[in-house]
Amino acid sequence: MTRPTRWRDDGPDEVRDLLRYTAKTRDLGPRDRARTRARVARIAAGAAVVGGLSLLQSAALGAGLAVLTLVGVEVGTTWRASPAPSAGQSPSASASSSRSSATSVQLATASPLASGAASSLPALPLPNDMAPPRSSARHAGSAPLADDATEPPPRAPDSLAEEAALLERARGALASSPGEALARTEEHAARFPSGKLGMERELVAIDALRRLGRRAEARARAESLLGRAHGGLYEPRLRQLLDGLR
């Protein structure tokens, strides 16, 4: 093959004329460079935060699972020690009480790692339109049930691990059952109105709405979120979702 010459010089007349008018590719100017450099630096920094967050979430989740294992052992022991329900109390209520008691004891001793991990997490931007605290089943059900008044009050199980697990289930249901995924996000909003993964929840919810064909709702929710996600870690994902909705 011979070395080609440019069409601008000796190409077909029509094409030569067209190419004569065509502008060259615009190079990156100093302003563009400064702007893109700042954004890239944010990606690098943001990824470190996300990496740390994932690690802490994982640690918290691991600690939560360890707690559950200990609780399982303890519940077994408790049941073996006091199998008969007290008078006036249904068997299920008694079992529930025993379980809760055992849970509170174990959590009081085993949760510092998890709660410490959670408290050291960087605050993620949360959507302003986050649902106000609704009647929370968890709060209603977590009244102290310990049968010994001197026992420390029951501590909530690690909420970040719960949040992560709930959103993991929501995300897992997205492809097969977006309705269920949406319901999980609503459950998350109800249980964790000030949760640390509010933004993540909104993204899953928007995706679920999109898959359900409720595109207008999804778009409105995404656009509302975009203003608050501007320059943040979630902005690219949000824009990607919005692209698919336009």
Binding site: L19, T25, R26, L28, R33, T36, A44, L61, A165, P236
Partner: protein, 199 residues
Amino acid sequence: MPVLAALVALLAKPDAPRPVGPPARPLDLVAVHDLHASFVWCSLQRLGVRDPDLDDVFQEVFIVVHKRLHTFDGSSLLTTWLFGVCLRVAAAHRRRAWFRRETPTDELPDAEDASSRRPDELLAARQARALVARALDRLDLDKRAVFVMFEIDEVPSAEIAAMLGVPEGTVWSRLHAARKQFQAALARIQAKTGRGGAP
């Protein structure tokens, strides 16, 4: 559960070896930007990403680079590797744009053009640019990039070959194929619009 699996994997392999690139300067994301931002910026345009989307797609490229930089083993030029990333991101962008049924619109004339050219020249230039843009949109992406670099940006073929990490002969054959596609696309567009000849 993926999160738990990630934790287990992390604990099992705390110091998993990663390939290290050859440059003296450590390959972090900002360093890649400093070295090759201009190349990525121009490549995306050559691959058909238009001005309004350029910032976002550029950022998408660097998100991918950040995730995948550890896989760059130095066996090729970094520009070759980056061009591969640009190609994939631009292809995804093109699919989205096609999904949205976007068509290129005429560009606004820049200030210099507007002041130094007659109105009929300006109109001809706008029509020519729009026509070329539409024809280029019908080219395969890798051919499009070579065509734009050679025919519009007037980059020497040896330089194109070096950037893309291919032999110069490959550049020529891609250019040959791109020219055929371009002419065919042009003919189809002109037949469709009923417009003949140069604008």
